[in-house]
C-alpha cells in the first residue's frame, strides 16, 4: 500500500509534538521547515501521480471501509493539499524571524493547523471531517490571537464563539445522518442515501441542510460571512496569508459532500444544495464587492475579496456542469495565492507608511514606492482577475461555462450571473485602484522605514506561485477538468472506497498461494 496519503497528516502532527518537547525557537523553526517541506514534497508527488489518474484509498488502521476511517487521495483532495503546503511554505517564510518570536508556540500551532487542513481535505468520513475541522480551528484560534493585542483578542472571542456554534450544528447533522443511514463514511452514505424512503429522506434532508450551514459558515457564504472581515483584518500578516486557504476548506467540503453524497444519483436528495445555493453565493459575491469598495483599510478590502472569491467558487460548483466545476477548481489555487499575496503586501505597505498603517486615508507614502508599488500592482491585478494572470482565465472559464458552446441556450440565470460577476470584477478593480492611489500617491510625508529584501521575499514567493498558476495554465486546466469529471461521476470512487480490502496483518499470515 502506498502510504503517501497519510504523510501530510502524520508528519505535521509528529513535528508539533516534537516541537513541544524542546521550547527552543531555532529548533522549532528548522523542524517547521522540515515538516512543511516534507508535506509539500509528498503533496506535489501525489499531484503528479493523480495527474496520470492515480487515486488512493488509504485504510487508516487497516480497517475496511464502512467500519474504519478512510483517507481518499484523488485529484481534488491532492490539489488542495498541495495548495495548502505551498501556501504554508510562504506563510512560514513570512513568519520566520520576527513574527514567530512574538509569542510562544507559533510553530506547533502552525503545524497543527497544517495537519487539520490536510486531514480535512483527505478524509473520506463525515465524522473524521468534523474532527479535522476542530483540529484546524483550535490551531487557528491560537494563531489568530498570536502576537496579542486588543483587536485580536476581541476578534478571537467572536471567531471562537461562532465556530463553536458551527461545530454544534455539525454534530447535530452528523447525528441525523448516522441515525437514519447508520453510516458516516461518505462513500457508504452516497449508496444509502439513494435508497431512502420518503420519511427518512426528509430527515436526511434536514441533516444535509445543517451540514450545508456549517460548510457555508466556514466558506463565508452570504448569510454566514460577516465574521470573516474583522477576523482576517485582525490577524497578523503571516497568519492571514495562511487563513486564505481556510475558507477553501468550506468550499472544498461543499464540493465534496454535495457531489459525492448528495450528487445527481441521490434521488430526491439530489437538490440538497445544488443548484439553488448559487443564489446566496452570487448575492454574497456582490455584497462582498460592495464591502471592498467601502473598506477602510487594505486588509479589510482584501478580506472582503476573500469572501467574494468564496462566493465565486461556490457559484461554479453549484452549476454542476463539468466546465463550471473545472473553472472553480482552476480558480481555487489562484485566488488562494493571490489573496495571501495581497495580505502580505498590505502588511509591508502598512509598515512602510508608519503610523498611517494600511488605512486608506491620505498620509504618508512609502519611502521607496517603486518596489512596493510594483508588488502591490501585481497582487492587486491578481486578486482583481486582470488578464495575464490566472484569475482572468478562471473567470473566463466560468463565464464560458454559463454559455456552453454548441448548446441551444445559456443555462437559466446565466444573464444575471454574467452581470454580477462582471460588475463584481469592476468593483474589485476600483476598490484596489483607489487603495493604491491613496496609499502611494496621496500624502505629504514620506513613511519611516524601507522594507529590506528579506521582508519582501515572502510576498515575492507568493506572487511567484500566482505566476506559476498562470504559466502552467494548460496542464492545470486539464487537471481541473479531469478532477471535475471525477467529481461529477463519483461512482468509481465509491466503488473503490467500498472495495478496498485491508492488508493481511501479522496475526493473519499472508496467503501462500501468491508465491
Amino acid at each position: 500500500m502506498n502510504h503517501a496519503p497519510i504523510v501530510p497528516i502524520v508528519v505535521p502532527a509528529l513535528a508539533a509534538a516534537l516541537m513541544l518537547l524542546g521550547r527552543n525557537l531555532p529548533l522549532q523553526r528548522s523542524l517547521g521547515w522540515l515538516s512543511t517541506g516534507l508535506v509539500a514534497a509528498s503533496a506535489l508527488w501525489m499531484a503528479t501521480l493523480a495527474d496520470d489518474g492515480w487515486r488512493a484509498v488509504y485504510l487508516a488502521g487497516n480497517w475496511a471501509a464502512p467500519w474504519g476511517i478512510v483517507l481518499v487521495a484523488d485529484r481534488l483532495s491532492v490539489l488542495m493539499v498541495a495548495i495548502t503546503a505551498l501556501l504554508a511554505l510562504v506563510a512560514l517564510a513570512a513568519a520566520h524571524g520576527d513574527w514567530d518570536a512574538r509569542g510562544e508556540h507559533f510553530h506547533p500551532l502552525f503545524q497543527i493547523q497544517l495537519m487539520g487542513l490536510n486531514g480535512a481535505f483527505l478524509t473520506g468520513d463525515v465524522f473524521n471531517l468534523f474532527v479535522f475541522f476542530e483540529v484546524l480551528l483550535i490551531a487557528s484560534y491560537g494563531l489568530l490571537v498570536h502576537g496579542d493585542g486588543r483587536d485580536r483578542i476581541a476578534a478571537g472571542v467572536r471567531f471562537v464563539t461562532l465556530n463553536l456554534v458551527g461545530s454544534t450544528l455539525f454534530l447535530f447533522a452528523a447525528g441525523i445522518l448516522y441515525g437514519v443511514t447508520g453510516t458516516l463514511n461518505m462513500a457508504d452514505l452516497s449508496v444509502r442515501v439513494s435508497t431512502l424512503d420518503d420519511a427518512q429522506s426528509t430527515l436526511v434532508r434536514i441533516g444535509a441542510w445543517l451540514l450545508l450551514a456549517v460548510f457555508c459558515l466556514k466558506a463565508a457564504i452570504l448569510p454566514l460571512c460577516f465574521w470573516l472581515p474583522s477576523t482576517y483584518a485582525a490577524a497578523g500578516a503571516p497568519v492571514a496569508a495562511l487563513f486564505a486557504v481556510m475558507t477553501k476548506v468550506g468550499v472544498y467540503s461543499i464540493v465534496r459532500v454535495y457531489t459525492m453524497v448528495f450528487g445527481t444519483d441521490a434521488g430526491p436528495l439530489a437538490d440538497a444544495a445544488f443548484p439553488w445555493i448559487v443564489v446566496p453565493a452570487a448575492a454574497g459575491y456582490a455584497l462582498a464587492m460592495l464591502g471592498a469598495l467601502a473598506g477602510g483599510d487594505l486588509r479589510r478590502v482584501t478580506a472582503m475579496l476573500v469572501v467574494a472569491s468564496a462566493g465565486f467558487l461556490v457559484i461554479g460548483a453549484a452549476l454542476r456542469t463539468e466546465a463550471a466545476l473545472a473553472a472553480t477548481i482552476y480558480y481555487l489555487p489562484h485566488t488562494t495565492f493571490a489573496a495571501a499575496a495581497l495580505f502580505l503586501v498590505a502588511d509591508l505597505v502598512g509598515r512602510a507608511r508608519g503610523r498611517w498603517g494600511d488605512r486608506l486615508v491620505p498620509g504618508a507614502t512609502p519611502a521607496r514606492p517603486a518596489v512596493l508599488g510594483l508588488l502591490f500592482l501585481a497582487s492587486a491585478a491578481a486578486v482583481a482577475g486582470l488578464p495575464p494572470l490566472g484569475g482572468f482565465i478562471g473567470k473566463a472559464m466560468l463565464l464560458g461555462a454559463l454559455l456552453p458552446a454548441g448548446a441551444p441556450a445559456a443555462l437559466p440565470g446565466a444573464g444575471w450571473l454574467w452581470a454580477v460577476l462582471l460588475a463584481g470584477g469592476l468593483a474589485a478593480l476600483i476598490a484596489l485602484a483607489r487603495a493604491g492611489i491613496v496609499m502611494f500617491w496621496q500624502g505629504d510625508e514620506v513613511g519611516p522605514g524601507a522594507a529590506s529584501a528579506r521582508d519582501l521575499l515572502p510576498a515575492l514567493l507568493c506572487l511567484g506561485l500566482v505566476a506559476a498558476v498562470a504559466v502552467g495554465a494548460a496542464p492545470l486546466q486539464r487537471y481541473a477538468q479531469a478532477a471535475a469529471a471525477d467529481l461529477l461521476q463519483p461512482q468509481p470512487l465509491v466503488d473503490q472506497v467500498l472495495r478496498t480490502v485491508p492488508r493481511p496483518g501479522p496475526h493473519q499470515p499472508e496467503p501462500k498461494s501468491y508465491r
Partner: protein, 138 residues
C-alpha cells in the same frame, strides 16, 4: 424514555440558543455549554435508546447497544470541553483588555468612549460581578 429524552434535548437547545443570543460572552459561553450537552445527548440517542445491552459482540448475546455513537460522544465531549475552556480564557483576556464583557468586542479607546459604553450597558440590563468600570467618572 423517548419523551423524556426528546424534551430534555429540546429544553437544553432552547435555553442554549436563548443564552447564545444574549450580548454577553459569559452568557454565550453558558449557552454553548448547554448546546454541547444537548448535542451529546442527541448523538447518543441516534444510536437508538436501549438500556442494559452490551456494546461488544459476544457469543450467545442478542441485542446490542450501538457502540459508534458512544465513541462519537466521547470525542465530542473532549472537543467541546477543550473549546469551552479556551473560549473562557479568551473571554477573560478580552475582558481584561477591553474592560467589557460585550460579545461584540471592544470598547472605543479613551475614557469618554468607555463611559458612554458603560452608560449604555447599564440600560441594557444588570451587570454581572466584575471589576468596577469607569471608576474615574465620578
Amino acid at each position: 424514555m423517548e419523551l423524556l429524552m426528546a424534551s430534555g434535548i429540546g429544553v437544553l437547545v432552547g435555553t442554549g440558543v436563548f443564552l447564545l443570543l444574549r450580548p454577553r460572552t459569559f452568557d454565550a459561553l453558558l449557552g454553548l455549554t448547554l448546546l454541547s450537552y444537548a448535542v451529546n445527548l442527541f448523538l447518543f440517542s441516534m444510536g437508538r435508546l436501549v438500556a442494559g445491552r452490551a456494546p461488544v459482540v459476544q457469543a450467545g448475546v442478542e441485542g446490542y447497544a450501538d457502540p459508534l455513537p458512544q465513541a462519537l460522544v466521547l470525542t465530542a465531549i473532549v472537543i467541546s470541553f477543550a473549546m469551552t475552556a479556551l473560549l473562557a480564557v479568551l473571554a477573560l483576556r478580552a475582558h481584561a483588555a477591553t474592560g467589557s464583557d460585550d460579545a461584540d468586542g471592544g470598547v472605543a479607546p479613551g475614557a469618554a468612549g468607555a463611559a458612554d459604553r458603560s452608560a449604555a450597558g447599564a440600560e441594557a440590563g444588570p451587570r454581572r460581578d466584575g471589576p468596577p468600570r469607569g471608576g474615574g467618572e465620578a
